[in-house]
Symmetry: C2
Subunit: 398 residues, 2 copies
């Protein structure tokens, strides 16, 4: 981390099962995620020690929780009085909320901060949600959905680099297999085959139904603490090594490439620089695979594969849980689901559980074997990725 920057660690992390929660309000969802995170703090956390809170949610208005989400957070979790507010950043909302929470601790404004991300995607018109998330410019994008942006990127990557539909399908097969080992995943099919993906309905050529993440309700919570107080709460903190937020053009037609995301390259560069690390140090990635092509392009932009080499990377088996560079052992967005505000926070939950070795107890096959204990997390969104967040976490204090 930068000279003079206070170190920040995750001392707790938890989430509710992702899926369809028609019977659970947003308030119960965030309460359950918070309680799961509290439960994970091995030495216990007196809740009076929490002095700040940040809520990540894209469109709280769609399901009854409106503006001033910070107050809703503090009030709903029994933390009335703390400093609190809401962060919104499109699909990477959850990760940005954790990044801002880390700033609150690193700046010494707060010692212990609770970060909660949630989204209800099933109750209200999710078409409206995603359509609105992609803005309503009067000329540029009437009638466009996410796939209208990602499909030409997939096609361009296939044309330029020879990436195949089979390679995209392999991403989906791997992540569904991982998700089947994760009891908190929305979907998960350990027996899904490449053929089944290739036989699934074409949604927007060349992206098929099983190349797409589901629409999911979810909530997740992490608790961050400053270096001087970490030991009070846990013997197994997970340290923040670096975090970068990179932006790119808002509109698709302003971008300089269809086959690489400048926002991701910028976010990764910032995170690597802050951590003093490079791609070869990364031992595991939770990656924003909203569509299978995203994992292929993003492994390249994170420096984990050569440009154009993302398809071959998944083919190599290295990104399996047993490989040397597991990608999305949680199941990723493709299997676990993508409740916008919760997604990034849930990725941190997986990083936390994996780096602490907690996954082994519940699902040994899903536990990643670390060498130095360094994991990466990536969350992105907007039209052809206008914003990307990359974080690096480690078992050892930086």
């Amino acid at each position: 981390v930068k000279t003079g920057m206070r170190r920040v660690a995750m001392i707790g992390a938890g989430m509710i099962p992702f899926g369809e929660h028609f019977a659970m309000g947003w308030d119960e969802m965030i309460q359950r995620a918070y309680l799961a995170a509290l439960d994970s703090v091995d030495k216990g956390l007196p809740t009076g020690d929490i002095d700040g809170g940040f809520l990540g949610c894209c469109r709280p208005g769609l399901h009854g929780q409106q503006t001033q989400g910070g107050v809703a957070l503090a009030s709903t979790l029994g933390l009335r009085g703390i400093a609190a507010s809401r962060i919104e950043d499109g699909c990477p909302t959850g990760s940005e909320t954790v990044r801002v929470g880390a700033m609150a601790v690193a700046s010494r404004w707060n010692d212990v901060v609770v970060v909660v991300g949630y989204e209800k995607m099933r109750d209200a018109t999710t078409e409206g949600l995603l359509g609105i998330a992609l803005e309503g410019h009067p000329v540029h994008n009437r009638g466009e959905t996410s796939l209208v942006y990602f499909a030409p990127q997939a096609r361009a990557h296939m044309e330029l680099y020879g990436t195949t539909a089979e390679q995209m399908a392999m991403v989906s097969v791997k992540n569904h297999r991982n998700g089947a080992l994760n009891p908190l995943s929305h979907h998960g099919d350990s027996g899904l085959t490449v053929e089944q993906v290739l036989d699934s309905p074409m949604v927007c050529d060349p992206i098929r139904l099983l190349d797409c993440c589901p629409q999911t309700d979810g909530a997740a919570c992490v608790i961050l603490a400053g270096e001087e107080v970490v030991d009070r709460y846990t013997d197994k903190p997970v340290w923040l090594l670096g975090a970068g937020n990179g932006t790119d053009a808002y509109w698709m037609h302003e971008k300089d490439s269809l086959t690489s995301y400048a926002a991701t390259r910028r976010a990764a560069e910032k995170a690597y620089a802050m951590a003093g690390l490079g791609p070869s140090d990364v031992e595991m990635v939770e990656l924003h695979d909203c569509f299978s092509i995203m994992e292929i392009i993003t492994t390249e932009d994170l420096g984990l594969a050569e440009p154009g080499g993302g398809g071959k990377l998944v083919e190599s088996g290295r990104t399996e849980i047993g490989g040397d560079l597991p990608v999305s052992p949680s199941g990723g967005l493709l299997s676990k689901g993508h409740p916008l505000g919760a997604t990034g926070v849930a990725q941190m939950v997986e990083v936390f559980s994996q780096l602490r070795g907690d996954v082994a107890a519940e699902s040994p096959e899903r536990q990643v074997a670390f060498r130095r204990g360094i994991a990466m997390q990536h969350n992105a969104g907007g039209k052809a990725i206008g914003n990307s967040i990359v974080t690096l976490w480690g078992q050892q204090k930086p």
Copy 2:
């Protein structure tokens, strides 16, 4: 500021005239505010030095700018690539966005951060905006608007402390007179009388039309920098001394008082503690006077008047620009307007201009005379004030 915390200063601040901007899109509004802030940086700021940005806006979806406001900010201001996101916190959105921007600098994540707040309140259904801002609980608040919360508080304050309608009217008269001296204010009537306020239509007893702030479009921008780089850009920085965010219950019926705001007391306590200052050090306040009763209650909660003494404080003349404790020399929300996301940022613009003495050049009658050079800013919102932000700023580096 706290031990080990990096000092943060405003190096630039600017805003567009508040008012009705039917002919100006949100993008042009934030561009103009940003250019005004850049213009105020006396040694100049190469825009390539800006490495972070935060956008404050409550309901961007109401007027065409949707989620991922950080990308919209970076892209619209020609700052593609910087770290950026959006903060939402109801009525104090703007102040919380500045507080988060200050965290980004204080934590050393960024050296120079641009913070922009805006809201378009006139284009779309503002009734919808405010109704939605107050949430849609199925039982507690159907059909309620802001006044339904503030009117009983005004009545309770009158009953408990003998506060009068005349004292409330004096707040409005003072702030309209101040606003008439501010070319950027939405309204402003230097000749408004207490009688005129008392003769204005009753909106929700005991609050009359001229006790209410107008519905206003606006945008404002401040630029923050870390202590090591401040000198590159200005010889007249305005230093952040303290900032507190306090929350209270979400629902009116959960609150413990109608005549005092716990969120404001908590925010003030945090800001004073961080700054090592107390109420007697404050020489000027920009205060959230959405209704005239708010200034009366809030001067008490900030410790600037005894409990119940807010009415007498305005009567005393001390809160006039020429008094020893000017309150809202900008005109306040009552005159200048209250475009939610912009309000807090615009209050910082006033603090910046006043502490630097810049107001004197344009409007000598409006310039506050400082002794030690310490100003306070207060911004609050939600049902009966669920959240409050208080900041303290100074001419001298803390």
